[in-house]
Amino acid sequence: MGAVNGALIVGLGLNGFIVTLAMNIVLRGVLIGLVSGRTLFSAPDAFFALGSQDWLGVPISVWLTALCFALAGFVLRYHRHGRAVYAIGGSTPAARAAGIRTGRVGWAVLVIGGALSGVAGLVLAGRVGALGANQGSGLIFTVFAAAVIGGISLRGGRGSLLGALLGTLLLGMLENLLTLAQVSSFWIQAIYGGIILVALVVARLTTGEAQES
């Protein structure tokens, strides 16, 4: 799906945020249509393996996450294509003038992003042990929030994978904490959103930099 998104965004110059959101809705609709709104439990074991099995006492999903972050972090920092991503995010015309194939790199980023979210879906399904029609809904906004809290500019060119990891962990811990604190599940969403807002304000005040989103 990343490839299609990439074609739409890079090829036609559509707004990335909107295309992603629209594709999100389309795919969710397809999922609901395919399962007719029900939840699937029967699938081959291998399908759930990523989210349910352990290796050396640690869940495979954690290994997978660590591997993805380490690999992507290294590439972004020390590989020419990784640096090209930063250059394009900072100034596409300047990157183009320096001989970077901006369209191709942008497309590749979206394809990789699509593939990674596919893997994430497998992990999630494995952890829950089922395929729900509503699984992962709303996750897109959590992801945005995690990125911004981790200091990544939504305009591009600024941020690091370490920041993204910390942002994700922070939000994950927050969710866990709220559950453990036995906050009523009816209110969890509201509190969660409120805390994200507070985190953004604190980040803005402490770094003194406007988050040009």
């Binding site: 995010g89 100034s91 003038a97």
Partner: protein, 507 residues
């Protein structure tokens, strides 16, 4: 001189620090009504800070600002400041999607009668009246986006004047104008001066100072060096005051294009009947070890022709040969591989990635050569960057410094280093000295001449006579065609006339 009214605007004993940096040290300026004042100085001399203090955007750490002999308004009283002074910035501050009339009354509502929504008819009428008063021939209904740069400047000036001030600061108004548009702007300015408007005029193009100012103040290293009537300060002395060097006879860097030893080098670039949206049927050749100037106004197609050589612009017809091999047009990687390096036109958009460091910007085109399998070894990258910093005499703390922390001239040198990073046989420089100070200009041109000595072919696209002096030949473009060619040693008047597309004989 007794009985003279107090200066229109005066700043005295101004000191301003930003952290450890002293931006102004006991500097001052006095602008008299009716005597337009030039403010010159190299990048970082303190011009912008002085303007910020004169317009009330910054408060000085020491010193006073007075208007008509009265102390300046309180910092928060913007309306009072707006009545005394206005600044037209280098970058356009008109809202492109609104009409001229709306732009004129932006942020104010004197045209709305109380309780009513905006009365468009009245807005347009008052806008028309305002434009007529100041002789700005711009339709009030036009969307500001379609205005030319100099028309937009005039709208900004009219907006400033409508707020009551007769003192307007112009910060490099001609930076994006070609010669003819600048001349039109000067015409407007002279008319406004006759009508009682006083300008504080900031520019890197010193010739303009002599054209529109009566007095000039030079800042250097945060201090005021001299204030004098322009008649008493010839160009040579003015440049001496700006650079702090003894007033040696001004010459283009490295005695203007010494004759090349050994005659013509082998042909490096052959452009054959190249056509595109901006130029038609252009043919030219560049020899190795030759600097060729390509002069032309903003719409002449010279910029696009340079960009086409570098793969930044796709022509529709004709062909380009680099070192005897046909070049696949419209592709920067192809141009780089063929041996073309390019300093793009505008360092803010195409020349540099502002978020990245000096080293990363310089090595962007060679990122594949800094380690195995496309990996980038930071040590290799920084070594390359350090060499470039030394060779081009870039004033930077080190390779890791963010490129935006450098002054304009040094940023341009970084962009130049990027163009040279691939060790190109053909170097395309588009407006290499736009918006840089005198010393950086010399340094940049010296780089072009050094590239020539190293046997590279250099195409220098510019309409600045100082730049073109460094060239072995100058081709002039007008309206998309090459219209004239000059060997080194041309007469400036003749060349300018050819660039402007006016026949010689008058003026």
């Amino acid at each position: 001189m007794t009985g003279e009214p107090p200066p229109l605007a005066e700043a005295r004993g101004i000191t301003k620090r930003y952290g450890p940096t002293v931006a102004l040290r006991d500097a001052g300026i006095a602008v008299r009504a009716g005597a337009s004042h030039g403010l010159v100085g190299r990048n970082g001399a303190g011009k912008s800070t002085l303007v910020a203090i004169l317009t009330g955007l910054e408060r000085p750490d020491a010193g006073t600002v007075a208007y008509d002999g009265e102390p300046a308004p309180a910092p928060a009283d913007r309306a009072a400041w707006d009545r005394r002074v206005a600044c037209v910035h280098q970058r356009s501050m008109v809202v492109g999607e609104l009409t001229v009339a709306e732009n004129l009354f932006l942020g104010r509502r004197p045209v709305t009668s109380r309780g009513l929504p905006v009365s468009w008819r009245r807005l347009r009428r008052e806008a028309r009246a305002l434009l007529d008063t100041w002789g700005v021939a711009v339709p009030e209904n036009a969307v500001a986006r379609v205005l030319s740069v100099e028309e937009a400047k005039m709208v900004e000036i009219a907006r400033a004047l409508s707020r009551g001030t007769r003192f307007v600061i112009l910060d490099e108004p001609t930076a994006q104008l070609d010669g003819r548009a600048a001349a039109r702007l000067f015409g407007h300015m002279r008319r406004l001066q006759d009508a009682g408007v006083t300008f504080l005029y900031i520019s890197h193009r010193l010739g303009e100072i002599y054209e529109v100012c009566r007095t000039v103040t030079v800042l250097r290293d945060a201090r005021r060096i001299v204030t004098a009537p322009v008649g008493e300060l010839p160009t040579r002395a003015l440049i001496g005051a700006m650079t702090g060097e003894p007033a040696e006879p001004y010459r283009a860097p490295a005695p203007a294009a010494p004759p090349r030893p050994g005659g013509e080098g082998p042909v490096a670039v052959r452009v054959d009947r190249l056509s595109g949206p901006y130029f038609h049927d252009v043919s030219l050749t560049l020899a190795a070890g030759e600097v060729v100037g390509l002069a032309g106004l903003a719409g002449s197609g010279s910029h696009q022709l340079g960009a086409a050589l570098a793969g930044l612009h796709r022509p529709t017809g004709g062909r380009i040969e680099i070192l005897g091999r046909p070049l696949r047009t419209g592709s920067v990687p192809a141009a780089l591989a063929a041996g073309v390096g390019c300093l793009p036109r505008d360092r803010h958009t195409e020349g540099l990635v502002p978020q990245l460091s000096v080293a990363e910007n310089i090595t962007l085109p060679v990122s594949g050569r800094l380690g195995p399998c496309g990996l980038i070894r930071p040590s290799a990258r920084d070594a390359l960057a350090r060499r470039a910093i030394d060779e081009l005499e870039i004033t930077a703390e080190g390779p890791a410094q963010p490129v935006t922390a450098l002054s304009g001239g040094n940023q341009q040198k970084v962009a130049m280093a990027r163009a040279l990073a691939t060790d190109p046989r053909v170097l395309v420089l588009i407006d290499p000295t736009a918006g840089v100070d005198v010393r950086s200009r010399r340094a940049l041109l010296a780089v072009a001449l050094r590239a020539r000595a190293e046997g590279r072919a250099v195409l220098l696209v510019s309409d600045q006579p100082e730049d073109l002096r460094a060239c072995d030949r100058v081709l002039v473009m007008a309206g998309g065609f090459v219209t004239a060619a000059y060997q080194a040693g041309w007469a400036e008047r003749e060349l300018i006339a050819a660039i402007e597309g006016v026949p010689l004989g008058h003026g």
